[in-house]
């Protein structure tokens, strides 16, 4: 058994900072959305009044905007640092999808649904993780762009137009927020399934790994 470094210190800090900042952004975003909650997906309406009352999210547009337009800077700067670090440190090799990723992601899904029994290959991130973690970074960039498009639709009119206009950009911004919630649910489920050793690595940076003991002839 040995200690194996898994997550670099910078990544761990940025991960946890992002967790908190994203919570603030989604919370303040809901305060803003409350003032004009027009979106539905088929029969699903976002959100019933009881939802706002339960979370005290009604009548908070002004304060929601204030927090949103302050913490957007922390979200953007932390995200930019993460991307920069990931590229400069070479961590991107573990993160970005490669030519095995799609097949591997499919195997992970079959494995997690208990359809396929073969163990997953040992790697820092499997194919499904590569897709999910790369995807969520792209979503972050998408939130910044759609956010800018509705924050300054005159100054950045070209961007707003590119995204289909003001109303579309707002809907896209909202859809991305829902996307984070979905990501969060799957992420938490998988972290619980993976267990303490895996979770602890996002705090300590290290994982305990069993080493194949060499045979003595």
């Amino acid at each position: 058994m040995r200690l194996e470094p898994k997550h670099p210190r910078a990544i761990r800090w940025m991960h946890w900072i992002n967790f908190l900042v994203l919570a603030v952004m989604i919370g303040s975003g809901l305060l803003i959305y409350w003032a004009n909650d027009v979106y539905s997906l088929g029969p699903i309406h976002f959100f019933p009044d009881s939802f706002y009352r339960l979370l005290h999210l009604d009548h908070g547009l002004a304060v929601g905007m204030a927090y949103h337009f302050v913490f957007m800077w922390v979200f953007a700067i932390n995200g930019a640092c993460y991307v920069l670090y990931t590229f400069l440190s070479g961590e991107w090799r573990h993160l970005l999808p490669n030519r095995h990723t799609l097949r591997e992601a499919w195997e992970v899904i079959l494995h997690d649904l208990k359809i396929r029994e073969a163990p997953l290959p040992r790697a820092k991130f499997n194919g499904a993780q590569r897709l999910a973690y790369t995807g969520v970074i792209l979503m972050g960039a998408g939130s910044l762009l759609t956010g800018l498009a509705i924050y300054k639709p005159t100054q950045f009119a070209w961007l707003t137009n590119l995204l289909g206009g003001y109303a579309w950009a707002r809907a896209e911004h909202f859809a991305l927020a829902l996307g984070y919630v979905l990501f969060f649910l799957v992420h938490i489920t998988q972290v619980v399934r993976a267990g303490w050793n895996n979770f602890r690595a996002m705090v300590t940076g290290y994982e305990l790994v069993v080493v194949e003991t060499p045979r003595h002839e």
Partner: protein, 266 residues
């Protein structure tokens, strides 16, 4: 990978325990510091309805936005056919009583200058007409393509030599020092009032309007004369303009006093 039940690795386990203890202590301290910072931020003295540190950052955002501001940034315009239905209505503050368009006057004041002038609506309406079909953005999150017809605010101040210390026509590019820094506009009873930076007030798409969606302005939309800006949220587009004051002190603003961003620029 779960903790393997392996008894031959006590030193590694011991090392991991030490690491875990240290990391969770550091993490706990960081979390406590974060919680402390959050409770500080949320409980600081309010400045216009929100904790002052937030207000300070909104001012910094404003500074950044004005750095990128220029008359070249025009809001997109739309075909006139898109603005045909009666425009959506929102907000009746300052519109309590019925008023007559006949004999309507706008009172104009300049800070530090005694007296005021009164400009009749009929005189304002003799200025060159401007029609603008653009998307109004409400701070609540909805937007609607609307037509606004009237006269450019810039033409209005140019014609009557307003907004300047010298009393001459404004020359923002050549003589910016001659301009007052802010404009304050209010309904006659001052129940509703807005503060504008001069660049936004003199933006080429800022209008004094007497028509919306090709019809005379209705009571609910601020008849007989309202303001419209493409570069601000709708709450800055004052209905029923009765008073215009040019000043160097940042003017008060109805919604900014209730927690919203004073600049509210788009």
């Amino acid at each position: 990978m779960n903790d393997p039940n392996d008894h031959g690795a006590s030193t590694e386990r011991e090392e991991m325990r030490r690491l875990t203890r240290r990391s969770f202590v550091v993490g706990g301290i960081a979390a406590a510091a974060g919680a402390g910072a959050w409770s500080w931020l949320t409980t600081e003295a309010p400045d216009g309805g929100i904790p002052w540190p937030l207000r300070r950052i909104l001012r910094a955002n404003e500074w950044l936005a004005t750095g990128y501001e220029s008359p070249r940034h025009l809001a997109p315009t739309f075909p006139r056919t898109l603005a045909q239905r009666p425009p959506r209505t929102n907000g009746m503050i300052g519109l309590a009583n019925k008023v007559e368009a006949r004999g309507w006057e706008v009172q104009v004041e300049h800070a530090g200058r005694a007296g005021h002038i009164k400009i009749p609506l009929s005189t304002i309406q003799k200025l060159p007409r401007s029609d603008l079909v653009t998307e109004l953005k409400c701070v609540e999150g909805w937007s609607e393509v609307m037509h606004f017809g009237g006269v450019c605010f810039l033409d209005f101040v140019t014609q009557f030599g307003l907004a300047t210390r010298s009393g001459r026509a404004p020359d923002p590019a050549g003589n910016p020092q001659d301009l007052y820094r802010y404009a304050y506009l209010a309904s006659p009873d001052e129940a509703y009032y807005v503060g504008l930076d001069m660049a936004s007030a003199l933006h080429p798409q800022t209008l004094l309007c007497d028509t919306m969606n090709w019809e005379p302005l209705t009571h609910a939309h601020g008849a007989p004369l309202r303001l419209y800006l493409t570069v601000k949220y709708g709450f800055k587009s004052l209905k029923r303009v009765g008073l215009v004051r040019f000043q160097d002190v940042r003017p008060s603003d109805y919604w900014a006093e209730r927690g919203y961003d004073w600049y509210a620029g788009l």
